[in-house]
Symmetry: C2
Subunit: 434 residues, 2 copies
């Protein structure tokens, strides 16, 4: 057999419905972008040859993580203003900074900076939503990260869409430009929220997404203020409102979903809609804690997201997993709530399912896309390594040594191979006027 890449002598993390399993010393082979073989070293066919061999002794191979929600270009605004009331933060800092800074150059370099952080911390697939999303797509292609890129739709003048009457049309053109253009990229539409988009905009955007067969994302039930606004304007709750508009189905991803009653969870589950949960952003902005246990129990596909790094302020999904698992334990005063394994699924198979990519990514198995990360386990905080739960409670993005996406080596020994990260950091520093 001929392989493009052969990883050998590594531990391998397998995810299944019954839990996590480790192959102690195994191999993964890659050919034409997909996993062509996988198993214990003892089963490795001796006659194989490979274009590149990685001896990964002391390392763990696991599926690359799936970030189901971010706004990559906002890396320019990370740490610019923290610890403020939400409306002060948005109106006095973020919105003025966006009005001043967002243009094609900014979006390209800042999306690249965010991609660098994500790749180096083990994320191999990301769902992004922002303005000028074509440029985000260009940046992601140049970086080599797999992505769902969702063009923003909002009923205000926006970068690239000065006339909001054309916002859905602009999104349709965007889909047309990206469908079937690059194996890494899946286009989608991002309706900002039920309080910044009219019912007509929401319905038109969903109709466009249905016709183009792409996902629709929408921020939903993030704050108590939003719930009050929807009640004032539409005399119902956010989920019921979207249901009444016909927005909820299996190709809709609802982001945040914090303030839901039990019946709304059933409505979401019944519709087949997916959820992207962003616990750290929800904590830092003081928004609330999503009812993850109930949503997962109801059968909803729930993925984990970092949100934009201006409200987190990190794009590292390992820490997102850690905080997520702990937050729900203290919320319920129950150390068995939301086990590490469940959170690991959210960041891998759950995220893949949420993005409609369940058959392609999220686990290591023959025939899946070769989106693989290697972690260096030979470090004091990861020894002894008794159980994969340690990946949630002790590992961090900095432990990722190598990253393979779509069968290509993107990171080797923590060095990005696809682009010049120093140039990217320098460009973003210029944009920040630092």
């Amino acid at each position: 057999m001929l392989h493009d890449i052969l990883i050998k002598n590594c531990s391998i993390l397998l995810l299944s419905h019954s839990g996590t399993e480790l192959i102690e010393k195994g191999f993964v082979s890659i050919r034409e972008g997909v996993i062509s073989g996988l198993g214990p070293m003892a089963d490795f066919p001796g006659t194989s040859s490979a274009g590149r061999i990685i001896d990964a002794s002391g390392r763990l191979a696991m599926p690359g993580l799936v970030n189901t929600h971010t706004h990559a270009p906002m890396s320019l605004f990370r740490g610019m203003a923290d610890d403020l009331e939400l409306m002060t933060w948005l109106n006095e800092h973020i919105f003025p900074a966006e009005a001043k800074s967002v243009n094609e150059e900014m979006v390209y370099w800042c999306a690249k900076l965010a991609a660098a952080e994500m790749i180096l911390s083990g994320t191999t697939t990301v769902a992004d939503g922002y303005f000028l999303e074509d440029i985000v797509g260009d940046a992601f292609v140049d970086c080599g990260i797999r992505a769902v890129i969702a063009q923003g739709v909002i009923d205000f003048p926006a970068p690239g869409v000065p006339d909001p009457a054309l916002n859905v049309e602009a999104a349709e053109h965007f889909i047309g430009r990206w469908q079937d253009r690059n194996a890494l990229i899946t286009p989608a539409i991002f309706c900002h929220s039920p309080y910044t988009c009219s019912p007509e905009t929401l319905k038109q955007a969903k109709e466009a997404a249905r016709q183009k067969n792409v996902m629709l994302f929408v921020h939903l039930a993030e704050t108590k203020t939003e719930v009050a606004q929807i009640r004032d304007h539409h005399s119902t709750t956010p989920v019921r409102y979207l249901e009444s508009l016909g927005i909820l189905d299996e190709a809709t991803v609802c982001v945040h979903c914090i303030w839901l009653d039990d019946e709304e969870i059933d409505i979401l589950a019944g519709s087949g809609a997916k959820v992207a949960s962003c616990p750290q952003s929800n904590m830092k902005l003081g928004s609330g804690i999503a009812p993850l246990k109930k949503m997962i129990a109801a059968g909803i596909s729930v993925g984990l997201g970092t949100d934009g790094c201006a409200s987190n302020n990190s794009l590292d999904l390992f820490f997102e997993m850690d905080i997520c698992a702990k937050l729900h334990k203290v919320k319920d005063l129950d150390p068995t709530a939301l086990p590490a394994r469940t959170v690991l699924e959210m960041a891998t198979t759950g995220g893949a399912a949420a993005l409609g990519l369940a058959d392609e990514i999220g686990t290591l198995a023959v025939g899946r896309k070769a989106d693989i990360i290697l972690l260096d386990l030979m470090q004091p905080h990861l020894q002894p390594f008794y159980h994969p739960d340690l990946l949630v409670y002790a590992a961090g993005g900095g432990d990722v040594s190598d990253v393979i996406i779509d069968g290509k080596c993107i990171v080797q020994d923590r060095q990005i191979l696809t682009f010049d990260i120093d140039e990217t950091m320098a460009k973003v520093r210029e944009l920040a006027e630092l």
Copy 2:
């Protein structure tokens, strides 16, 4: 002027009562274990010479972090059993593992492994409490980390103290062996808790600590179960109980302090007692959320701790800061609660004050002990660097490049200089029978 070490061209983080401040491009000089000079490069005396010069361009110098509570040797038990009910975890996993494994060899190597993790993630001072604490002291001295080592006192047979009737006497001997022995080490006593120590043991231990002029640590008000137990046995609450025994004064550190009423916070503040808060352990074990805002507002010196890594499962104080700041925001649904600056103080000056070391460590200033860490800022998740709050919300222990403790280089470019970490990991793996 002659310096042992000169760090130049770095950013420098200064902490003061009015907030945080950055020197953009500065120097820190070290002589005989203390900071001998510090300021902008423009003010650096040109005639100086130094034994060693570190050009720290692109890096940030900040005070080493202070971990006010851990059980270092428990690194052997990290990840052995997670996501279990507290009593199942303790009775079926941790206590049997301790009964089987705790001996001098285990304590030495596992304390060393924990010290490696702490040093590499920027902790330069740690308060530890365990059995066979002399051995922990030996391990810490060999590693070069500053420490308050507290000999455990409990009313059960314990490793090194088979007869609990002698537990306070054993602690007195321990103090005698360590007082004035090594500049890095301050001995203390750790009474396990008000539910595992009798009132007589608590009083005797506090009396011994007073006579020897050392700190007394005690776990306090960690769980609702403990509060119920104290109510059942002593008809009062944990803080009032310790107050009635005369245990609370400025040399007492109360660990956890989750389940307190407002009057108990006033009692603690009035007594001068200190608090060590361990938010991640409290989250993971489902114990609860300490009333940090109220305790700090009452004027209590509050430090941050990781707790043992078996209940965290990390000893990285950067992530402890991050989670701590976010947890209190979502608890209050208020993004201004517990600002990053306050949490940074908890992990530095607050921790120093909690451990009675306020005049020696916790800030960078001429005359203070030279406990300094350098962070590599030239990374995608730390660029652009607008404000020191980013250290809480985006930095991690893995960003620490160099560590100086008591004027000695302990870590250089992420390599530990004081001992062989590979040997330590191999020894602990043997002990774990992996």
